[in-house]
Structure formats: structure tokens, C-alpha cells
């Protein structure tokens, strides 16, 4: 019971872990390549959610300094800044993966990993 109450306290972390698992599951089980990329994005987003929620402070304000407000009143700006970088990295990886999928579709006529494997096996035999 204590664990459940801890999980409810840390519900942001809990949900991001669940999303992480969903992302890994999608990435590794689906044979559709687009779905793999979607799983990859879910996984990345879950990590970003986790990272950003580390910096949250209850009742904190956005870290834009206003005169007369003490430093303790703002949320931690470092995770937000890092995740800005992380998001761009995820976008870049997604773009490159999509370009690979476009090219695979042009070459094999399908987006399904299993079908591509079948086509290759047929060609080799």
C-alpha cells in the first residue's frame, strides 16, 4: 500500500515510465516501420516528460526573472533547457528515419519489415 501511495505522489514519474514501456513495446513488436518510428517518439517523449518533471517545484513560476521575486519561487530551469536540446535531437532522428522509410518504400513497395524480409529471402533463393 505504501508503494501505491508513493506512486500516486509521483504520478508524473509513474506515467512517464508507463509511456516508456509502451514506446519500447511498440518499437520492438510492430513490424510496420512507421509504427516503429512512432514508438520511438513515444519513448523519447516519455523521457522528456520525466526529465522536465524532475525540475518542477510545487507552485513554482516559469523561470523568467522578474524584479522582486525570490529565486525559490521559480522552477528549476536546467531540465527545461536540456530537454529543448533533447526535443531537437528527437526531431532530427525522426526526420532521418522517415527519409529511410520513404526510400525503403520506393525500393520494396512496402513499409512492413516482415514483408521486406520475405522479399529479400525470395530474391536470395
Amino acid at each position: 500500500m505504501e508503494i501505491i501511495s508513493r506512486l500516486l505522489e509521483n504520478y508524473y514519474y509513474f506515467v512517464s515510465m508507463v509511456l516508456f514501456i509502451i514506446g519500447i513495446h511498440t518499437m520492438l513488436t510492430h513490424s510496420n516501420l512507421i509504427k516503429k518510428v512512432i514508438g520511438m517518439n513515444i519513448m523519447d517523449t516519455s523521457i522528456f516528460l520525466f526529465f522536465v518533471s524532475i525540475g518542477y517545484r510545487r507552485g513554482g513560476m516559469a523561470p523568467i526573472i522578474q524584479p522582486g521575486v525570490e529565486a525559490e519561487m521559480y522552477v528549476n530551469p536546467l531540465p527545461s533547457a536540456l530537454i529543448l536540446t533533447g526535443i531537437v535531437v528527437a526531431v532530427s532522428v525522426t526526420a532521418y528515419a522517415l527519409s529511410l522509410i520513404v526510400e525503403l518504400y520506393k525500393q520494396y513497395g512496402t513499409c512492413c519489415a516482415n514483408e521486406i524480409a520475405q522479399i529479400r529471402a525470395r530474391e536470395e533463393s
Binding site: 516559469a62 526573472i65 529543448l84 526535443i87 531537437v88 520513404v102
Partner: protein
């Protein structure tokens, strides 16, 4: 797409979106936003234009040549500003300690190289978004039009 409503609305809205993107880039050190957000807004305005008219129309506004110059230029700009700190006798990418800081905090022209770096990042992100969109959709679109 040949819808006149969309075309007219886009023709009106795109300049405003671009001005807003530039605003977000230039006010990155004062308000929420910065190079990435502003660059994404700028890039999406160009994507919107290309979507609502035609891919070729978008390419006429911002050609492949220009966008590849912009991509490289954004990165070179960033590194050169970093080397400027080095040339002034400080470390790589040093801002205020190298004497680059100017202006009072809270004003538009303050923060030394932050403003310049944001500009470089914004240009880079905008051109990247447009180039990626254009190249991924061009390959598909050119095949689809003839069928």
C-alpha cells in the same frame, strides 16, 4: 490544392506568422521562446505556404540553393561567434567575460551574443524544417502527380 479560401487566407496570414517568428527569436532572452521556437514558427510558415499553394511555388520563394546556404550559414555563424570569444582572449563560446555583453538586462539589445546566437539558431531551424519537409514530400509528390 486549389481551394481559393485556403489560398487567400494563407496569403494574408503567412507574413504575420513570419513576423511573429522573428519576434519570438529576437525576444528569446526576455520572454518565453528563443531560437528554436521562433525558428520552428518561421519554418512552419514556409511549410504552410508550400502546402497551400504548390510545392514549386514554395521552392520559388526559397530555393534549394538558398536554403542550403542558410543551413550551413547558421552553423558557421554559431561557431564563428564561439571563436570570437576565443579571439578576445577567453574560452570558446564565452559571452560576457570576453567583453561581448552590452545593454541592461531586460532591454531588447542586451545579453551580448545570446541575441546573435538565437538568430543563427533560428535561421538554421527554419531552413532545416523547410528543407526536410520539402525533400520528403517532393519525392512522394512528384510520383503522385502523374498517376
Amino acid at each position: 490544392m486549389k481551394d481559393i479560401v485556403i489560398r487567400t487566407v494563407c496569403r494574408v496570414i503567412v507574413p504575420f506568422v513570419q513576423v511573429y517568428g522573428l519576434y519570438v527569436i529576437f525576444h528569446g532572452h526576455l520572454s518565453p521562446g528563443g531560437g528554436f521556437a521562433g525558428g520552428a514558427i518561421l519554418g512552419s510558415s514556409m511549410v504552410l505556404f508550400a502546402l497551400s499553394f504548390h510545392l514549386e511555388a514554395g521552392a520559388q520563394k526559397l530555393g534549394h540553393e538558398t536554403s542550403s546556404y542558410l543551413e550551413s550559414g547558421g552553423g558557421i555563424w554559431y561557431i564563428l561567434i564561439g571563436l570570437l570569444g576565443l579571439a578576445l582572449g577567453s574560452n570558446f563560446l564565452t559571452n560576457r567575460a570576453a567583453g561581448l555583453g552590452f545593454g541592461l538586462p531586460g532591454q531588447l539589445f542586451s545579453g551580448g551574443m545570446i541575441f546573435l546566437l538565437s538568430l543563427g539558431i533560428g535561421v538554421k531551424v527554419a531552413s532545416t524544417m523547410f528543407t526536410l519537409f520539402y525533400n520528403l514530400s517532393e519525392e512522394e509528390g512528384s510520383g503522385g502527380d502523374h498517376q
